[in-house]
Amino acid sequence: MMMVSLLKTFWVVFLHLFRKRETILYPEQPVPLAPRYRGRIILSRDPDGGERCVACYLCAAVCPVACISLQATEDETGRRYPEFFRINFSRCIFCGFCEEACPTYAIQLTPDLQMSEYQRPQLVYEKEHLLISGQGKYPGYNYYRVAGVKIGGKDKGESEHEKPPVDLRSLLP
């Protein structure tokens, strides 16, 4: 009885010779990552190609390791954007809080984890490294199109789904 069970064990283990290997041969074979994997952080652009980031500091405020630093500024049309935007990836813990806090879908985490460097300072990414040309995970969203804020070329009440502002001096309904 014991012999039979032993032989069965050998046979079952031997059959594993013909099974598929579970190992992913990583550098040659890419690792399958979920679309919502929290990897390298990027800054996206809106459909018109403008920066989505409005430099509200919410990401920097929520960041538990304080690895995001930025400086807000405005262009001549009154549109806010970060003067610089710096993420220190040697501190980043990829928690995704910045993405959750972002009101404009500007900051996003991407399924990319291949960001090793030989020197720590090279892990500090500036805006030119972070900013991508596309829209990332939220195509079609344009903050300044739907927000009521007034910028150059767009007055109050001209946003999508927005009614013209109420004339406070008129008594008519």
């Binding site: 032993l6 050998f10 283990v13 594993h16 010779l17 099974r19 290997r21 579970e22 190992t23 041969l25």
Partner: protein, 320 residues
């Protein structure tokens, strides 16, 4: 070629082949274990990861050769060499082919048994001189295990010796020309196999070095090439037992078509793979189970096998 020159060539050849095989067993075992666990194993260094052996050797040679201050120094240094010496000496009597055999002893089988008995000293002294409780426990276990399983190992090969009518390994192989001894000596083969595993302290009988209980058992204090010698000694032991199984039960170099040396190496290789398969598939028994199995199952079985074989041989003699 003159006789002594040929002998020296064979001697060096056997030494090199034995050491090379046991070194590549490091790679083979890891690779096979990985395959049986749905992994790849070492495949980065060189073709199929074969240069892993070289990497491991460089590593083990450049490690600090540390002797603990509390150890018994001479014995501590001596212990790992004993296992290498005894196993390599055992290789001298193995007939690889009718020509390739270092020493043609007419008591080759007894010499093999004697050498495997001496191998116990290595493990026991290694654990003893380490002056470490886990090492000592490991070597105590090794002593009990190897001494008890030696008994059945000796008794199981007696059946072979009875049928072949000789202790000369070359004659034993020659006696298998008609029928390999694995059929008339099936129980002998089983017992020898189990005893061989216990003798080489391989899984599932690796209680002397059970990682989960005894750290590394008798070689817990060893590092560098001293540990490497225990390590290579173990792999040499596997090769030796596999070669002995091939010699005693599977007709050694005998086989159709291919040259004798190829047959011998092929058979040995199969048993080495079987040893790895054993490691991949079986859990480790408790120590009392191990000894109870030895004395209550293996000993009666080997005695019965010897009795039956002797009776059959006598009956056939009486007829002929």
């Amino acid at each position: 070629m003159t006789e002594p020159a040929l002998a020296i060539v064979i001697l060096i050849g056997v030494l090199l082949v034995a050491l090379t095989i046991s070194a590549f067993l490091i790679w083979l075992e890891r690779r096979l274990l990985a395959v049986w666990q749905d992994r790849y194993g070492p495949n980065r260094t060189g073709p199929f990861g074969l240069l892993q052996v070289v990497a491991d050797m460089i590593k083990i040679f450049t490690k600090e050769d540390w002797i603990p201050p509390f150890a018994d120094k001479p014995v501590f240094v001596l212990a790992p060499t004993i296992i290498m010496i005894t196993v390599l000496l055992s290789f001298t009597v193995i007939p690889f082919t009718p020509v390739i055999q270092v020493v043609h002893l007419n008591i080759g089988l007894l010499f093999f048994l004697a050498m495997s008995s001496l191998g116990v000293y290595s493990v026991v002294l290694g654990g003893w001189s380490s002056n470490n409780k886990y090492s000592l426990l490991g070597s105590l276990r090794a002593a009990a295990q190897m001494l008890s399983y030696e008994v059945f190992m000796g008794l199981s090969v007696m059946g072979v010796a009875l049928i072949a009518g000789s202790f000369d390994l070359r004659e034993i192989v020659a006696a298998q020309r008609r029928l390999w001894f694995c059929i008339p000596q099936f129980f002998g083969l089983l017992i020898f196999l189990v005893a061989g595993i216990a003798e080489t302290r391989r899984l599932p009988f690796d209680l002397p070095e059970a990682e989960s209980e005894l750290v590394a058992g008798y070689h817990a204090e060893y590092s560098g090439m001293k540990f490497g010698m225990f390590f290579v000694g173990e792999y040499l032991g596997i090769t030796l037992i596999s070669a002995m199984i091939a010699t005693l039960f599977f007709g050694g170099w005998l086989g159709p078509g291919l040259p004798p040396i190829v047959w011998f190496l092929l058979k040995t290789f199969c048993f080495i793979c079987f040893f790895v398969l054993l490691r991949a598939s079986l859990p480790r028994p408790r120590f009392d189970q191990l000894l109870a199995f030895g004395w209550k199952v293996m000993l009666p079985l080997s005695l019965l096998n010897l009795l039956a074989t002797g009776a059959v041989v006598l009956a056939l003699q009486g007829k002929g």
